[in-house]
């Protein structure tokens, strides 16, 4: 077996070949596999920034990452193609500071490194699932690819002028709320979509009944109608909506005019 120093002095092609061989050995018999070669290949790619080493890594682990992705993707109800997630997983791995930290450890940390690569594969799928759920309601979806039709995509983010993202707007609104009750309801109802009964169940010391939750929600909605960013959001959503889906009146078409701002209830 090669000594530890030999992996450092190997030319890249030979290092990649030896890594592949030891990866194969690992699957057959862990005790016969030496992690130093693959670890060194990762080190050259990520620490020395060798493009060629990175290409060897992708060639070596592409199919493995694809299997990981497919497993989670199936488990999570697929909306996108596996290959997109594979590319995303490698990109996330390349950018992660944690990977550099692992590469400062001895080659025995190869297991951690590969677990992190797998984490990036899972992350790619979970992240796509989050984005899919956050998509605007009116985005048409291509039935063949299940991707949003690009020309019609209007993200939630670009409906705001003064806030870069929904998270920023969320934080701004949260900071403007006056009471603990309002903050709890804003978080529980509007970010986690919980019903009043579930909120009351979770915070019985704050809400003795659901009636109070409905009353506070009503006040929040009144106040939100006066918020310029949310007015913009309501308008943008209305503009994006089918003018008369299913013959029913558009749900938000006259929110602001019909609900004239009034005083909050206590």
């Amino acid at each position: 077996m090669d000594s530890a120093s030999s992996s450092h002095s190997m030319d890249l092609q030979r290092l990649a070949d030896t890594c592949r061989e030891h990866d194969r050995l690992y699957r057959l018999d862990k005790t016969r596999s030496d992690p130093q070669f693959c670890f060194e290949l990762f080190r050259r790619a990520l620490i020395e920034q060798s493009q060629l080493a990175w290409e060897y890594i992708i060639a070596q682990y592409h199919d493995q990452v694809e299997r990981w992705v497919s497993h989670v993707h199936r488990a999570n109800d697929g909306h996108l193609e596996a290959e997109d997630f594979v590319n995303d997983a490698f990109a996330r791995f390349w950018q992660a500071p944690a990977v550099r930290g692992i590469l400062n450890k001895p080659p025995e940390a190869l297991g951690s490194l590969l677990q992190y690569l797998k984490k990036c594969a899972v992350h790619a799928v979970l992240d796509a699932a989050r984005k899919f759920k956050n998509r605007p309601a009116t985005i048409p979806i291509d039935e063949k690819t299940r991707f949003p039709v690009r020309s019609d995509v209007r993200s939630v983010e670009n409906t705001f002028e003064s806030h870069e993202s929904a998270a920023e707007l969320y934080a701004a609104i949260l900071n403007s709320l006056n009471t603990e009750e309002e903050k709890i309801i804003f978080f529980q109802k509007f970010t986690l979509s919980k019903k009043a009964a579930a909120i009351q169940n979770e915070f019985p010391e704050i809400f003795t009944d659901t009636a109070r939750i409905y009353r506070v929600t009503e006040n929040l909605l009144k106040r939100f109608r006066r918020n310029p960013d949310l007015q913009e959001l309501y308008s943008a959503t209305v503009q994006n909506e089918d003018p008369n889906p299913g013959g029913k009146p558009a749900a938000a078409s006259s929110l602001i005019s019909k609900h004239a701002p009034g005083p909050d209830h206590d």
């Binding site: 990981w68 497993h71 989670v72 488990a75 999570n76 944690a98 692992i102 940390a109 951690s112 677990q115 797998k118 984490k119 990036c120 899972v122 992350h123 979970l126 992240d127 699932a129 989050r130 899919f132 759920k133 956050n134 605007p136 309601a137 939630v156 929904a166 998270a167 707007l169 969320y170 978080f187 109802k189 509007f190 970010t191 986690l192 979509s193 019903k195 009043a196 579930a198 169940n201 979770e202 659901t210 009636a211 409905y214 009353r215 929600t217 009503e218 909605l221 009144k222 939100f224 109608r225 949310l230 959001l233 309501y234 959503t237 009146p249 749900a251 938000a252 929110l255 019909k258 209830h265």
Partner: protein, 237 residues
Amino acid sequence: MTDNHNLPELTDDILLAYLEGDVSRQVADRIEHSPELSSRAEQLSGEVNILNKTFHRAACPKAGDIGDYYLEILPEDQRRSIHDHLKTCAFCTRELAVYRMQLGPPIKTGSGANLLDNVKVFLATLADLTRPAPKGTPVFAFRGSETRLRVYQAEQVAITLDVRSAEETPDMFSVKGMVAGMGSERTDVMIWREDHLVETLSLVRGGFQLDQLQGGKYELVVRSGERVFYIASLIIP
């Protein structure tokens, strides 16, 4: 404003309750038979939907940070923040469970942070019912054939599920569950189907019941304090 001068005004808070199915049949009938009240309820529903879509998980940590939390490689302040968030967020708790399912136990690289109070996920697996039941497994109202029972186990916890078709709608199902071994802490049960949170409820006297479930593949998450038990695949019926 009233629809009928003899009846009290139905304000928006009542309409919000109506949208969550939390009013009497009498109030629901009144709303449904009034075009004005129905229209107001629909408008409120539209507003809530827009806000839900806009702010869905806006306060959640990134999915990658949940993974780093699982792998125990986050700095302490970030770890603490995610730890606190996990206590109230079903979505992130389920993502943590998915990481546990997919990654296996974290492979340590020698970091020395104090992770004793990290939320730990245990994969609950189907027990072999031909063997004696584990100590503490409930024998609650399981009527009829025992083959309907499924017992999932992890650590000292047993989650017993009784899946039955609904009497009035045979293509819908109900799940009656009992959880043994969780201790006295508050315990929440979350059921998922294809990335969607179907329902969250708390254990009452160690049990729970989920109704009106369609047939299909579900995931079940049982959370109590710093412990999460995950059934990755629950096929109903």
